[in-house]
Symmetry: C2
Subunit: 210 residues, 2 copies
DNA sequence: TTTTGTGAACTAGTTCACAGCT
DNA sequence: AGCTGTGAACTAGTTCACAAAA
């Protein structure tokens, strides 16, 4: 199943949360699509991949579908997240509200700077020495590693993380990391994103439309 | 031209920078692909869209291709970036090394919190009041808005930014923003990324392979 | 001989149209 | 009547194979 589908499921879940807060009990793919600017047949197709969650003539029961999605996304069991790099970005991610939702637990920040180890983020996530990760992971393994270390250290750190049992990596460093095929890698490259936008601006101005 | 292509061009540029530092003068699509785990025909196709930059039998001249790519990506003229939201994330982005490369200028952080206005990030990016953005933009307009404000404020802020002439938006808030068709929007949703990874972990464990 | 540039084949992803439940 | 689930049509994106150039 594709990366794109996974992303959309997460979006649907967020929409359902909003609807539930509004006290809405049931929703059709059409009204979901309209309210959140999505595509109705695609919603149906995405959901139908995992089961028949809807009721013809009615739509989907919000609470029901939410439960299904949380299960499909693996959020009904705790996912343990370790953040590597306690710099500006790592600290910001540790305290990012979306990263401490129900279903995800941040076990700590890991860094090599002596001055940082023992401190904690504003939100209360503790900073450990990188070398202690292996030990901690042995007791209870981390599922996801977030890489927020400088580019030069990224590959080294990701290797260590994987050695200690991490099976998915969210990479914020501007490097193409090598991971074994069994490990899922997702890179969020801020530089690339910025330059893509710059590219579209350049196109607009330059491509002979004025 | 597609988003994916734009992203790859940015990656190619980064590779070329690395090669130049190593003192390499000329490179073929094949060796580029091998060194950086890319796909050779795709590199050629991507580049060929914008001109004939290569020399048959030789490859591409590193310095030459770099210059072309910088031009295509619009990095040969200054791109002005405004960051909205001086929270953890905004501050981290302001000081992110990849965001202050040659070709991009961060004009400031914009927030509404009185306590923050007048301060500056560790890296020296100044924090202004949101209401001063319009005025500043009138003098010299910002090209890209980075949205790092809380979800509830995101749409409001992006509207203001666009009204003041911003033509591209990098959105870090967990909201689907509405922008006019002429404005380029790129959303980096941290929650969605995390949940996608969780999804793949759940699949691995559950889909009947043990 | 080497390596580009590119049409043609292929693959993945999206949209559509409608049969089939409720 | 209303809305889901889905095969079939379409679109976008990638890979391949090779002719053309240096």
């Amino acid at each position: 199943m594709s990366d794109l589908t996974a992303g959309r499921l997460s979006v649907y879940l967020r929409c359902l949360n909003a609807l539930e807060t509004e006290g809405i009990k049931t929703v059709s793919s059409g009204s979901l699509a309209e309210q959140f600017h999505l595509n109705a047949p695609q919603i149906r197709k995405d959901l139908a991949t995992f089961g028949e969650f809807g009721v013809r003539g009615v739509g989907y029961y919000v609470v029901d579908l939410k439960r299904h999605l949380r299960h499909i996304l693996g959020l009904d069991r705790m996912v343990r997240v370790a953040i590597f790099g306690a710099g500006n970005l790592g600290m910001a991610l540790a305290d990012y509200p979306g990263f401490r939702r129900q279903g995800q637990e941040i076990i700590g920040l890991f860094d090599v700077a002596k001055a940082k180890v023992g401190q904690q983020s504003r939100g209360g996530v503790r900073i450990f020495h990188l070398r202690d990760f292996k030990k901690m992971a042995r007791k209870s393994p981390a599922d996801i590693a977030v890489i927020a270390v400088p580019a030069d250290a990224a590959q080294l750190v990701v290797n260590e993380a994987i050695e200690s049992g991490v099976r998915a990596v969210l990479n914020f460093s501007p490097r193409a990391l090598k991971v074994p095929p069994a490990v899922k890698l997702k890179t969020m490259d801020l530089t690339v994103s910025m330059e893509s936008l710059s590219f579209f601006l350049a196109r607009e101005d330059g491509d002979g439309r004025a």
